[in-house]
């Protein structure tokens, strides 16, 4: 259990911090781990702790603050002994999260965003935690609790007050164990059994260049959504000069509605590590890094166990599979609650122990990535596919899917459907076919690729899910006929405000302005001029932003204006201009004090 900072004497605190810093070899790039451990033991990263960390590491205080203040899961103020982070994703809200929130506030006696007077419990909201198939969900001291209902809450709060993590009676809320897998459909690529080491041995039978050729031949493309050809990425990376090369796995799936990595990391971590090891062989890396989102901390030990087992089996470490000189190992880096770190250059900054601000490209990570060395950043699913390609061959793989989108794709489906969960389906499936598969026959709209993707309406349900048509990282959120789409667009827009890193102007300021302008319209104060202004602003944010977050932040607004224009037109007033500033509202307080209303000239 964490303790509150003040409980320790200064000398004791110093000893704790020094020991933590020493355990990470004083390495600057391990600052995130150091801060996490310090927070765990001391309760928060207050100024005193930050000074101690800085002096033990030989860096400046402001450097510690710069990093620690960036991540949602790090705190500079003491928190309660228990921290409840309720996921406030759109899908959680669709499943009654707001009632659960009220129940928590009633049971704890404080509003969200604060800590109870006795220091027992802190209530916080957090962005999508990857449990949309079993929403509403919360992280309670890092432990996942799913399918919460208001009736569960008093029991949870009571137990936390007693200092117990446990679930209330009935067993429906057993921590960890209660996370449902919800793997609804398996296919030949990802969830078929793989004999440990088979794919690595197949790779080791050929020179590294040939491995890249096989991947290129399979026409495998990045599964995060961008669809960059994996073979080309590995080839660029291998050819780039550096003192070391790195294989990086992006397991920071933060896109609301996505949870496929969760299922893969739970079910087929061996396939992932196999793929990363093959990647290491192909590009000439000896170190692999798995960036695991902080929300999935509960998987950390499980994954460490798998890595340990693979080391024992000779599938990681030195002379892998008996191949003299092929050394490769994997380190897991935990994130700390920042959606932007799913962007590859932010992820690299975060891996280096800094704030997750993206980099300008070029240079691309393949030439200058982690520690300024050539690095290949790929999605969990991409590595799993790569392992399978090596095992079964490029031809086998490329026969599935479409011409430009070979293989199978995982979809995380949630929202208004009968069977939410993960589906392994062939690329090229239409939205309609997918909806039938998941049991959603009355959808008014589907959000494909999460808020940064596209919102499609029934007229486009015949379109295909593949890189040639609607490309997606796999998040599919179904909205039934009763959902208020404008409210959903608003939630998504707010998500980007919360998750903007703040580095560049169009994203930091523009996302806030987008919401204000959008609000003006949905509050019934908008005119055609306001709608045009909204599109104009959205285009500036999209064009001028530094990274994918800002470039896609206007997507919820832009794609609904394009695909469901009636939503907006119904809200517009015929006036040429309506001021955003409400004069009467602004004068109301003064009028009340004076006891008389202002008299307008024309009256």
């Amino acid at each position: 259990m964490p303790t509150i900072g003040g409980k320790h004497m200064p000398a004791e605190t110093k000893k704790i911090v020094d020991e933590i810093v020493r355990s990470y070899g004083k390495e600057r790039h391990r600052l995130m781990d150091i801060v996490r451990d310090a927070q765990e033991q001391l309760g928060c990263v207050c100024n005193e702790t930050a000074h101690l960390i800085a002096s033990a590491m030989g860096i400046q205080f402001v450097e510690v603050i710069d990093m620690a203040s960036f991540y949602s899961f790090f705190s500079r103020q003491p928190k309660g002994n228990s921290v409840i982070r309720l996921s406030n994703c759109v899908v959680d809200k669709m499943h009654g999260m707001e009632l659960v929130a009220k129940a928590f506030e009633r049971a704890a006696g404080v509003p969200f965003g604060s800590t109870t007077g006795d220091g027992a419990i802190t209530l916080e909201y957090t962005a999508c935690i990857g449990m949309c198939d079993q929403a509403p969900a919360a992280l309670v001291n890092g432990t996942v609790m799913t399918k919460l209902c208001p009736e569960d809450v008093p029991g949870i709060v009571k137990m936390l007050r007693k200092g117990e993590y446990g679930a209330p009676k009935g067993g429906s809320l057993l921590p960890d164990a209660q996370i449902e897998l919800n793997l609804r459909k398996t296919g030949p690529v990802l969830f078929a059994p793989l004999e440990s080491g088979a794919a690595i041995r197949a790779a080791l039978n050929m020179p590294p260049e040939k491995v890249i050729e096989v991947i290129t031949g399979s026409r495998l493309r990045g599964r995060g959504g961008a669809g960059f050809p994996t073979g080309m990425k590995w080839s660029f990376c291998r050819k780039a000069k550096g003192i070391a090369h790195y294989i990086i796995c992006n397991a920071d799936e933060g896109e609301p509605g996505t949870f496929k990595d969760r299922v893969m990391l739970t079910q087929i971590p061996d396939t992932l590590f196999e793929g990363m090891t093959i990647g290491g062989y192909a590009i000439g890396a000896t170190e692999g890094l798995l960036y695991l989102r902080g929300e999935y901390q509960y998987l950390y030990r499980h994954l460490q166990g798998v890595l340990e087992r693979r080391r024992h089996l000779g599938l990681l470490g030195n002379n892998i599979c008996g191949r003299e000189g092929f050394n490769f190992d994997i380190r897991i880096q935990l994130g700390a609650g920042a959606y932007v770190c799913g962007e590859e250059s932010s992820l690299i900054e975060s891996l280096e122990g800094k704030r997750g601000a993206p980099r300008d490209r070029p240079p691309f990570p393949v030439t200058k990535g982690y520690m300024d060395q050539p690095s290949s950043v790929n999605n969990v699913e991409t590595y799993c596919c790569a392992a399978r390609v090596l095992e079964k061959g490029a031809e086998w793989f490329s026969k599935m899917g479409t011409k430009d989108s070979t293989g199978m794709k995982l979809f995380s489906v949630s929202g208004d459907c009968v069977h939410p969960g993960v589906y392994e389906l062939e690329f090229g499936i239409t939205v309609d076919e997918l909806l039938t598969t998941v049991g959603a026959d009355d959808a008014q709209a589907v959000q494909i690729g999460g808020p940064s993707g596209t919102c499609v309406s029934p007229k486009d349900f015949g379109r295909k899910l593949c890189f040639e048509d609607i490309s997606t990282g796999g998040s599919v959120i179904v909205f039934g006929p009763k959902r208020d789409m404008l409210q959903i667009v608003r939630e998504f827009t707010e998500f980007f405000i919360d998750e903007s890193c703040g580095w560049c102007v169009p994203c930091r300021v523009g996302t806030v302005l987008l919401q204000k302008q959008f609000d003006k319209i949905i509050e019934g104060k908008g005119t055609k001029r306001d709608l045009d202004g909204l599109v104009n602003l959205a285009n500036t944010v999209k064009t001028m932003s530094r990274c994918g977050l800002g470039q896609t932040a206007p997507q919820p607004i832009l794609t609904t204006i394009r695909n469901i224009p009636a939503l907006y037109h119904a809200m517009l007033k015929p006036d040429d201009f309506i001021p955003a500033f409400d004069f009467e509202k602004a004068l109301a307080e003064g009028a009340a004090v004076q006891g008389r209303q202002p008299v307008w000239e024309e009256e």
Binding site: V62, D66, D360, I497, S500, V505, T511
Partner: protein, 238 residues
């Protein structure tokens, strides 16, 4: 320039560039002004303001960080880009609390000068009306974050030129601000009024005390010529 130079095309003008130059550096040398705010030639580029975004082969790219490459076709001074750049400047005006008529930096402020250059009269966006405290604890310098545009020049110059690391960032998104390397105020840091971190602030956010408003109206850098004129003066061909 050596024999390895090549040509890039900027708004239909051929510009000579070298392999170690960014697009912005090549344009500066040729007398073509690409508007910018967070960039400063003495510092590594920060990529914060995005004002220098140009369309490079049709794609929006940040030119202060972009290495020049043979045959690049660049759009810089177009109505579309100027409008978007003006939007960015307007965003900064509504994010902070900028009161030009009373600001010490008026006339030399790069934010104000860019607003004039882009034809901004008043921001169209609603103000944030943020409540921000001034740190005047230091004997010689004060920092007024009301006028901070988060360009990061102080962060980079204090770290790389002054070798002090007085500044950093804190928080994220719309809560991000410039942090200082101390618990309470600037007076606890090693900042000196002679530091580059002070000199390179583009607005009136970091100001030296007791020497305000020294330059009379009419003699301030942007009173008579728009920002970028120094670069455009170098242009030889039309």
């Amino acid at each position: 320039m050596g024999s390895d130079t090549f040509t890039i095309i900027v708004d239909d003008v051929e510009v000579e560039a070298g392999p170690d130059q960014t697009v912005m550096e090549a344009c500066d040398a040729a007398g073509i002004y690409i508007p910018r705010l967070c960039y400063h030639p003495e510092l590594v580029p920060g990529g914060h303001c995005r004002v220098c975004t140009c369309k490079v082969n049709g794609k929006p790219m940040n030119t202060c960080t972009l290495p020049a490459q043979n045959s690049m076709v660049i759009e810089n001074n177009t109505p579309e880009l100027t409008e978007m750049r003006r939007h960015l400047i307007e965003m900064l005006f509504v994010e902070g609390n900028h009161v030009c008529p009373m600001c010490e930096a008026s006339g030399r402020c790069e934010l104000q000068a860019l607003a004039y250059r882009f034809g901004m009269t008043t921001p169209e966006y609603p103000y944030k009306w943020a409540s921000i405290e001034v740190d005047a604890s230091h004997p010689d310098v004060y920092i007024d974050r009301n006028r901070c545009v988060l360009c990061g020049r102080c962060v980079r110059s204090s770290r790389d030129l002054d070798k002090k690391q007085v500044f950093g960032f804190e928080g994220r998104g719309d809560k991000m601000k410039v942090a200082i390397n101390a618990d309470h105020g600037l007076s606890e840091t090693g900042l000196s009024s002679a530091d580059k971190a002070v000199a390179l602030c583009p607005t009136g956010s970091i100001v030296i005390k007791r020497q305000g408003y020294r330059v009379p109206y009419g003699k301030r850098p942007y009173d008579k010529v728009p920002i970028g004129s120094d670069i455009e003066k170098k242009r030889t061909h039309k």
